[in-house]
């Protein structure tokens, strides 16, 4: 039966293969236009159904034999003490969530076949959706946090791809960029968490991550990174702005990303971190607070939304906020049930968004009487509590100012030294040095490749490689310093 469990990797590999095939055909020019649609759909559907079949088989096996826990297939990267194995972690929750992801994925793939028929970007959409499914299954099933991160990025990338689906509308591409950049903040947190895990634990396997025996200070710092990532992905305050902007894509992608599946990835991360979260009560309290405030934010702002998709997305924000709240209070199982049911409900509602107007027979219910006539609160809710102007003033504008200063310094100091911006003019002294260095490196490389065929140089190269590794370790020290500084901050806070 263990073979069945090992097959679960196909739930990740199949959509990845689907994306690769569709992408490859797009590149080769075969995957273009209406005529290629059936092929693209067939591949996407085939891989999705197969992956679903695999997951069902795994579920059946799990019911009969119990869940196997973490399974390691192979080592992907090994470098000194740091190892990144390819692994899955199959427990009841991950199996259920993976099944939900896959079923919603199949429905959305099927829906899009008809809904996006004859769209110019039909194949790009399917590419993005397959990539997303692979990423999402990786997030759900991965046995190592570092692998989860790969899924995290795949999902983030495909989200960017599909928000900016309509490349001809500036609004769509701007919002895609906005969502992408916001999510990078979460990624920074994720990377911090991963780096600390590698540093202190030596690996990022979920079981060892949550059962570390780390002291509270270390655990707090580790969690800080992951929780930031969860907050960004699930659009909790203060990183909520991107979700409402993400509705520029086609209806089915909005449904699966922002209604049903991806927006729950942050909650999933919290559920994965349950044991270690329970160690650090104050982070739990903060999670609960963030969740509660976000739920209130989503509720108030949601009351004022007059378009269907925004209204649904704020309702989603509210419910995901409540899931955070539940996690923060320690009701992880409850949050998980909520997550599953909510994902199914929103998938249905988002896909039916175009018919909302015809389905409703009554105007929306009025807000509570105590709230109804409060103008300031109404303005606040309509402006979504100004999170975007706030971000503009507090984050974006200063960042732009720094960038401007750096560029000015660049232009004033570096450019004259290195090269001239005018074509044909003689570069400065620095430029000449650089050109000479480049020539020299080139000749060295040429010689190296010439003698690379014999055995001896290969050995030399390996030695050099080791040498460089040591050098790299040395170079990493300032980073280490930075992390320490951050840690000190955390303790003070």
């Amino acid at each position: 039966m263990s073979v069945v469990f090992e097959m679960s990797a196909f739930a990740i590999l199949l959509p990845l293969l689907g994306a690769a095939l569709i992408g490859g055909r797009m590149l080769s020019g075969a995957g273009r236009g209406d005529a290629a649609e059936p092929w693209t759909v067939r591949w996407a559907m085939l891989q999705a159904w197969l992956a679903l079949l695999v997951l069902v088989a795994v579920a059946v096996a799990a019911i009969m034999e119990g869940t196997p826990g973490r399974i390691e297939f192979a080592r992907w990267i090994e470098s000194g003490p740091v190892a990144l194995p390819l692994s899955v972690l199959i427990d009841a929750k991950s199996l259920i969530f993976a099944l939900i992801v896959q079923v919603v994925g199949v429905v959305v793939l099927r829906f899009s076949r008809t809904y996006l028929h004859r769209e110019g970007a039909f194949h790009r959409f399917y590419f993005g959706l397959c990539l997303f499914l692979a990423g999402m299954q990786l997030i759900v099933l991965a046995g190592d946090a570092a692998l989860t991160f790969v899924g995290w990025e795949l999902a983030g990338f495909s989200s960017w791809l599909l928000i900016g689906y309509d490349t001809e509308r500036a609004n769509a591409t701007q919002n895609a960029l906005y969502a992408f950049v916001t999510n990078r903040i979460g990624d920074a947190g994720f990377i911090l968490g991963l780096a600390l895990a590698f540093l202190w634990i030596g690996n990022t396997a979920w079981p060892s991550l949550v059962d570390t025996g780390l002291d509270r200070v270390s655990a707090r710092l580790l969690l800080f990174g992951f929780v930031v990532a969860a907050i960004a992905k699930s659009a909790q305050l203060p990183l909520s702005g991107w979700l409402a902007r993400a509705l520029e894509g086609p209806t089915p992608s909005s449904a699966i990303f922002y209604g049903a599946i991806m927006v729950h990835a942050g909650v999933w991360m919290l559920i994965r971190l349950e044991p270690v979260l329970r160690l650090v009560q104050d982070i739990m309290i903060q999670v609960a607070l963030f969740g509660l405030v976000t739920a209130l934010y989503g509720w108030f702002a949601g009351l004022t939304q007059s378009d269907v998709k925004s209204s649904l997305v704020f309702a989603t924000t509210t419910q995901v906020g409540l899931m955070f709240f539940a996690c923060g209070l320690g009701f992880f199982d409850f949050a998980f049930v909520h997550l599953c049911l909510h994902a199914l409900l929103r998938a249905a509602q988002f896909l039916l968004a175009p018919s909302y107007m015809h389905l409703l027979s009554q105007p929306a219910p009025e807000p509570p009487a105590w709230l109804k006539s409060r103008s300031w609160w109404y303005g606040a809710a309509l402006s979504r509590f100004w999170i975007e102007p706030l971000a503009q003033t507090l984050v974006i504008a200063p960042a732009q100012a720094v960038a401007r200063d750096v560029r000015a310094a660049d232009e004033a100091v570096l450019m004259p030294l290195l090269a001239s911006s005018v074509e044909g003019e003689v570069p400065g002294a620095g430029g000449r040095v650089l050109a000479w260095a480049a020539d020299w490196c080139d000749s060295v490389e040429q010689r190296l490749t010439q003698i690379a065929s014999s055995g001896r140089p290969a050995q030399l190269m390996r030695q050099a490689g080791e040498y460089f590794l040591e050098l790299e370790a040395l170079l990493e020290r300032p980073r280490y310093l930075l992390i320490l500084v951050a840690a000190t901050f955390m303790v003070i806070l």
Binding site: A172, T304, L344, M357, P367, Y378, S383, A408
Partner: protein
């Protein structure tokens, strides 16, 4: 209130009226009705209107030239069409412009091939990459006689040199500083507003900064029930409501606009006064105020148009919120000036008023010139990017004055670039010469004056002229085929003496197909066409409906019904009906709860998402994987047997029926009058069959915000079945028959009127009151139902050929299955294709078109020309049904030629807002017009109206009816007449040219119209649009 203010208020009202001309007139989307997208320009001739549209709205009204050229290559336009159009295009079309070269030749060359000036980069590409000096593009080579003396490598180079020699470089003088600024200011209120001014000066679009916030306020104000919480001041009007929030808004401080809040709080309370204050503050000359407000509104056509529509329809759908255009304009003005101020202060350190900006640029003339050149796209890329760097925040103008100067010198050098000149002046001559077959010596013979004449003649055809000629050629090609079919069908005409049944369907072009298939299913059936309101305008309340629905046309004029009809359970069904209504209401409540409570609230939504998720997801799975099963499930509980009573009781009959106080039911006289009028307009006044079917139509589909756009246009985007039912019920009443007899319409006693509804999405016919069909007609009815089922299935085959996702060559059964699946599929953005490809309208007897195939492209309106000596019936047809057809046709036309601007883009991104329209994504302008999925295969051409009537009577009607003059005289529809009593001494068909009058149509030398047994023999296996052919089967009854 002072006199001046008072007059501004009056003027403003007048200006707002005028906004109707430039803003989309689309109603909230539930009440979508097809209308001419450019209705505001209908008073102009078509070509002038298109030029005005390009000029004022910035949108061309034609397909791009490249598309026409592609149609030419595909054979949908041929050289003879172009020649026929050129014949009439210019009085001196065959004049020689230069020795041996006529205007016709030059125009033809310029139409067929792109000979327009290009820029230097493109020239380099043409010369280097496309080897323009060593070969001629294949398409030109096929037409041109340039190589007639053999291909010779040097020949093209010599021609290029000659072309350059004939177009010497002349430098234009640099514009004067004063002129530059005053020219810019003069555009305010003519070409644009402060937004365009700032955009040209800084490259920053101030609308972008206020857009998102503005849309939120607008959508919230106009919302028809999607949002829960509305502005507490909503009932005081948009301006007051917005201002209250804006004054409280702390975000002004966040974005460095602290003075904005102060300004807004100091604004006058009256929106009109605020408009005056803002425009005065800006220093816009009074004469330009109207234009300024118009331009302002046109920047957001969708929202402005919807606001205006609601302004004109207070109380729409029971909404009491005041919607006044002055409110909207005031908010727009204030927001614009606030945003402009922010930009101007940041960049130039001055407020955004004309005086302040003028004095700044008076001191910085070079900056002004460069900024304008850069943002108007006149600078080459390298220089433009340098200008943009200069503009980057942080650059102080005072420091960079020298830098501006240096840039200006670089720009001046570019202007004098000979390469640039060659591209813009010599290239067109070169291209024209090639197409005309002139080589270097021939060109040099023409000399400089000849070359100039050549260029000038080609330039006479600007984009709009050329497009208009192409459009006419495109229409000519199709019209020739229509005329050929009508004339070939003439000798085959046969009258039907005793048809088995008569079916009256809608004039809708989709019913052309259905009627043809009915006639093929049983040639002993006669079909007629009329507007499917059937002249019985009513407020309809179906069983279980919460309110009444007006079923009547709103084009060309809005009609409000004065009568109300209720659907009631049949005797003995009262209990079943009550139980059914209860179930309906329960379902409705549950659905509302599912959709609303899961959106709003904190904990209720939480609980609901637990309770509702399994059901909702089950529904989703069924919809996604078994749409037909879902459809059966959704329709599992049909309405119990019902009836309607068309007759008003005595107490109601006494008072007059008015729209304000609709009468329940019609009086006997009203019924007789309406039935009589409609039968007369159809020409169905004798020779009644035992069964007369009145068939309305409608369309059902899932997940479709544009539902109303597929429904019956004659019933303002609703199903017209209830009207058919009302008509039939009335026509069966002895009291009505008696009144008809008095008008000379003798309906035999045994004739029974029967009502049905044809669903254009799934081709299913629903029959009403079938239990009332007399026993004597039972067999005939059963066989008629059978014929309709056959027709539905074969019609589905014909429809499927145009649906790209339906396989070709399906059997009737599987095709019918396919279209039923579409109707129930919630993922289907093309449940049907609506009026797509509509192109012509026939007013006349069916015998004119029966037995010919018109590819579902023709509106068919039954009209008996021989019983209308004074043209009264025709007048009604042309003034009522004509505009309906024209509205549909022109909406499709414009949505096709510019789907992004006149249409609403793809459905995939649509987001229903406020229950009144769709946006693309979550913050776009409201999108009006038709979605891309509805027009993909449309062939945009103006409606060709063919009337079977003498030109004398048609001319009389034309001269008497201003409405007809506007549509036909201005060329918004094309008119042709078919002689009702053909005589070899007269032309059979004559076309109407507004400038020249009636022009006889000459049949082509050899008529080669093919003949097939049935439609399927012709269209089977073909996807493309098909020309008419003749069919044998529908005419077999006569044999």
């Amino acid at each position: 209130m002072s006199a001046a203010e008072h007059s501004l208020k009056e003027q403003l009202e007048h200006w707002i009226e005028h906004l109707d001309h430039v803003l989309p007139g689309q109603a909230p989307i539930r009440d979508f009705v097809h209308h001419n997208t450019l209705h505001g320009y209908q008073h102009l001739p078509f070509d002038q209107a298109m030029a005005a549209s390009r000029d004022e709205l910035g949108i061309g009204g034609y397909w791009p030239l490249a598309r026409f050229r592609a149609e030419f290559a595909a054979g949908r336009i041929d050289a003879s069409d172009l020649d026929a159009v050129l014949d009439l295009a210019h009085p001196e079309i065959d004049t020689e412009i230069a020795p041996g070269v006529t205007r016709r030749a030059i125009w033809r060359a310029a139409l067929r091939f792109d000979c327009a000036p290009i820029d230097a980069a493109r020239l380099r590409w043409e010369l280097d990459e496309r080897a323009a000096l060593s070969r001629i593009p294949d398409d030109i080579a096929a037409e041109s006689r340039f190589w007639r003396h053999g291909t010779n490598a040097g020949k093209l180079t010599a021609l290029w040199q000659q072309a350059q020699a004939l177009t010497p470089l002349t430098l234009s003088a640099e514009p004067d500083q004063d002129e530059l600024w005053s020219g810019l200011i003069a555009t305010l209120g003519v070409r644009g507003t402060l937004r365009e001014l700032i955009l040209q000066l800084s490259g920053e679009d101030i609308l972008e900064t206020v857009r998102v916030d503005l849309f939120r306020h607008l959508a919230a104000h106009l919302d028809q029930g999607l949002a829960s919480w509305h502005n507490p001041q909503r009932n005081e009007g948009f301006y007051a409501a917005w201002r209250r929030i804006a004054v409280l808004d702390p975000s002004w401080a966040l974005t460095d606009q602290t003075e904005a809040r102060k300004r807004i709080s100091e604004l006058p309370d009256d929106p009109v006064a605020a408009i005056e204050a803002e425009l005065t503050h800006l220093a816009i000359p009074l004469a330009n105020w109207q234009g300024y407000l118009e331009r302002l509104a046109m920047q957001l056509p969708g929202w402005s148009g919807m606001f205006l529509w609601r302004h004109h329809h207070p109380g729409y759908s029971g909404i009491t919120v005041p919607v006044a255009m002055a409110d909207y304009l005031a908010v727009r003005l204030v927001l614009e000036s606030v945003a402009a101020n922010t930009v101007a202060r940041r960049i130039w350190g001055v407020p955004a008023t004309l005086t302040a900006l003028a004095s700044y640029f008076w001191v910085h003339p070079v900056e002004l010139r460069l900024r304008l050149a850069c943002h108007r796209g006149e600078l080459p890329e390298a220089l433009a990017s340098q200008v943009q760097q200069m503009e980057a925040p942080g650059e102080r103008a005072a420091e960079s004055r020298a830098a501006w100067k240096a840039l200006a010198e670089a720009a001046a050098a570019v202007d004098a670039d000979p390469q640039q000149h060659a591209a813009s002046a010599s290239w067109p001559v070169f291209r024209l010469a090639i197409v005309l077959g002139l080589d270097a010596p021939a060109l040099s013979e023409l000399g400089q004056s000849g070359a100039n004449a050549l260029l000038a003649c080609a330039a006479e055809l600007d984009l709009d002229c050329a497009s208009y000629l192409w459009l006419q050629a495109y229409e000519h090609h199709y019209a020739e085929k229509i005329f050929a079919a009508l004339s070939a069908n003439l000798p085959r005409r046969a009258s039907m003496d005793a048809p088995d049944a008569q079916l009256v369907l809608c004039m809708d072009d989709r019913e052309e197909g259905y009627r043809r298939h009915i006639e093929e299913a049983n040639p002993r059936l006669e079909t007629l066409g009329g507007a499917a309101h059937f002249a019985v305008f009513q407020n309809w309340r179906g069983l279980g409906d919460p309110g009444v629905t007006p079923l009547c046309p709103v084009v060309p004029v809005v009609i409000v019904p004065s009568h109300e009809i209720n659907e009631m359970p049949r005797v003995g069904q009262e209990n079943a009906a009550a139980a059914w209504q209860q179930r309906l209401e329960k379902g409705r409540v549950a659905r509302d709860r599912r959709l609303q409570q899961t959106r709003f609230g904190l904990l209720s939504a939480f609980v609901q998402s637990f309770l509702r998720a399994p059901g909702a997801f089950g529904d989703l799975l069924l919809r996604a994987f078994a749409p037909q099963r879902w459809g059966q499930h959704a329709q599992r509980d049909p309405v119990p047997p019902t009836l309607i009573n068309p007759t008003a009781v005595a107490e109601h009959s006494a008072r007059p029926a008015t729209p304000e106080d609709p009468r329940p039911g019609f009086t006997d006289d009203e019924q007789g009058e309406r039935i009589g009028n409609f039968l007369t307009s159809l020409g169905l006044t004798r020779n009644f069959a035992p069964l007369v079917v009145i068939m309305g139509h409608g369309s059902n589909s899932q997940n479709n915000p544009h539902l109303a756009a597929y429904d019956c246009g004659a019933c303002s985007g609703r199903h017209s079945g209830p009207n058919a039912r009302l008509f039939a019920t009335m026509a069966n009443r002895p009291a009505v028959r008696e009144r008809l007899a008095r008008r000379g319409i003798h309906v035999p006693e045994q004739t029974h009127f029967l009502a049905g509804e044809h669903n254009t999405a799934d081709d299913i016919v629903t029959w009403y009151d079938a239990e009332d069909v007399p026993l004597m007609h039972a067999a005939a009815f059963a066989s008629l139902q059978n014929d309709c089922r056959t027709a539905s299935a074969t019609h589905a085959v014909e429809r499927c050929r145009r649906l790209m996702s339906a396989p070709l060559g399906m059997s009737p059964k599987s095709a019918w299955h396919h279209v039923i699946g579409r109707r129930n599929d919630f993922a289907q953005p093309r449940p049907e294709l609506g009026h797509v490809t509509n192109a012509c309208a026939f007013f006349g007897r069916r015998s004119m078109s029966r037995g010919a195939y018109f590819d579902r492209r023709a509106f068919l309106i039954s009209y008996d020309p021989l019983r209308d000596a004074d043209g009264a019936v025709l007048t009604r047809h042309l003034t009522i049904n004509g505009p309906v057809g024209a509205g549909i046709n022109l909406e499709y036309y414009f949505s096709t030629v510019s789907n992004e601007r006149f249409g609403c883009g793809t459905k995939a991104m649509h987001n229903v807002v406020g229950g009144l329209g769709v946006m693309a994504g979550a913050s776009s302008d409201l999108r009006t017009g038709l979605p891309r999925q509805m027009i993909e295969i449309h062939e945009p051409m103006r409606l060709l109206v063919v009337v079977e009537q003498t030109t004398e009577i048609l001319t009389r009607v034309y001269q008497a009816q201003p409405a007809v003059q506007e549509l036909v005289g201005n060329g918004w529809v094309l008119l042709a007449a078919v002689d009702p009593e053909p005589d070899p001494s007269r032309p059979l068909i004559q076309r109407f040219d507004p400038a020249r009058g009636w022009l006889p149509w000459t049949p082509p030398a050899e008529s080669s119209l093919r003949e097939f047994e049935r439609s399927v023999d012709w269209f089977g296996g073909k996807r493309e649009p098909l020309p008419p052919v003749l069919l044998k089967r529908p005419l077999e009854c006569a044999a």
